[in-house]
Amino acid sequence: MIYIDPERTKSFVVGVVGWQVGDMTRQQLDPKVLSAVHPLIHDGLKNAVISSVDDVVFEAVRAQFQTNQLFGRGR
């Protein structure tokens, strides 16, 4: 196995299944179609799931590390 650091591994995976799929799909759409789909489905779900849940969960995890609660010692 060739070691690839976690950031690059994530980038490889999400780059293909996320960015590349999104980009290639976009190229098969007239801009009118994109603007008809994007606001409701993409932006809508960004509000309904990412902003309301994922962002808050991420902040909760980060906060726990920042205050060192997991490691049993203060800052």
Binding site: T25, K32, V33, I41, G44, L45, I50, S52, Q66
Partner: protein, 324 residues
């Protein structure tokens, strides 16, 4: 054979967008146990699409917190990082995750649910290589929560077992006045009131909220929730607060403290409505020398001098036509 290029949506196709939005919300907020076989298939496919060897092991954990520890710790062990350095490894690397169910709408790209709509409803035919990657992502998103991909292994997370939201629009916020707002099978989760994370004791034992604990809370949002729970009138009444000044900017209250200097607070209503149309009321501590509510509000807006130093805004500098 599907279509290779879509020029416009038909009325029938347009009418089905809402259905896919709702499907996306259902997937994103799903609290069923993870579909592990499907998720593992999706993860291996995703690695293959990215020209990576499949992970030797897919490790299941019961919460994002467990994932945040498991992934970086395993990586550190593989690299022979001494144990005392693991906390630093976790802090630096916990965020190398992919959002699983929460990224059903995509991030900055067309997400799996948009692609699914275009393929299923509009008959869009993708290049086979792209279609394979889209199927892999769809399988992950529809089967589990966060994943932490590594060249040697992949950590996959169970879905939450409970998610509670308020009814605000368009952004419903994590909210539960009776327990954790979100919780995973291992018990990890947190409490939240209208999207503001609060310590659990405020929800579980609200009777323990006191004037002193409110004063000791540094986070203004948490303090606002504590005052709301405690009761605005009670907060002012029990604390023996007196109204010092009132104008269109707010109310200036003074509250005596035993064996300490008086506390001056300005009560103001946020100019920006919340997503549910309500306006939050805040009590902000201000320096004891202010005389008017206007001056008190102005003092909460520090300005940066040209030389980079901060100074408190003077009342005459704070006279906005519109507040935001």
């Amino acid at each position: 054979m599907g279509v290779k290029y879509i020029k416009e949506l038909t009325e029938e196709q347009k009418a089905r967008r809402q259905e896919y939005y709702e499907l996306g919300v259902k997937i994103g907020l799903c609290t069923d146990p993870a579909d592990r076989p499907r998720a593992e298939w999706g993860i291996r496919e995703a690695y293959a699409c990215a020209d990576l060897a499949p992970p030797k092991e897919i490790v299941w954990v019961d919460s994002p917190m467990a994932m945040a520890i498991e992934g970086p710790t395993r990586d550190a062990k593989l690299r022979g990082v001494p144990k005392e350095k693991w906390p630093e490894e976790i802090r630096a690397n916990f965020n190398r995750y992919i959002g699983g169910q929460f990224w059903v709408g995509g991030w900055w790209w067309n997400g799996p649910i948009s692609v699914r709509f275009l393929r299923e409803v509009c008959d869009l035919e993708l290049d086979p290589k792209i279609a394979r990657a889209a199927d892999a992502n769809r399988a992950i998103v529809e089967s589990c929560c966060w994943i932490w991909p590594h060249t040697d292994f992949c950590v996959a997370t169970e879905r939450p077992r409970a998610i509670h939201l308020d009814n605000a629009s368009p952004v419903r916020r994590l909210h539960n006045p009776n327990g954790k707002a979100i919780e995973w099978p291992d018990g990890w989760g947190f409490y939240a009131i209208h999207g503001v994370r609060v310590p659990g004791w405020i929800i579980e034992t609200p009777e323990k909220i006191t004037i002193e604990s409110i004063d000791a809370e540094n986070n203004v949002e948490v303090r606002r929730v504590m005052i709301e729970w405690f009761g605005f009138q009670r907060y002012l009444g029990v604390g023996g607060a007196t109204l010092v000044h009132e104008d269109r900017f707010g109310k200036l209250w003074k509250r005596p403290r035993k064996d300490d200097s008086d506390i001056l607070m300005v009560e103001l209503v946020n100019s920006t409505p919340e997503s549910d149309g309500t306006y939050k009321t805040y009590f902000l501590r201000v320096r004891p020398t202010v005389k008017t509510a206007h001056e008190a509000v102005a003092s909460t807006f520090p300005v940066i001098n040209p030389d980079g130093t901060k100074r408190v805004r003077l009342p005459h500098e704070y006279f906005p036509e519109v507040e935001s």
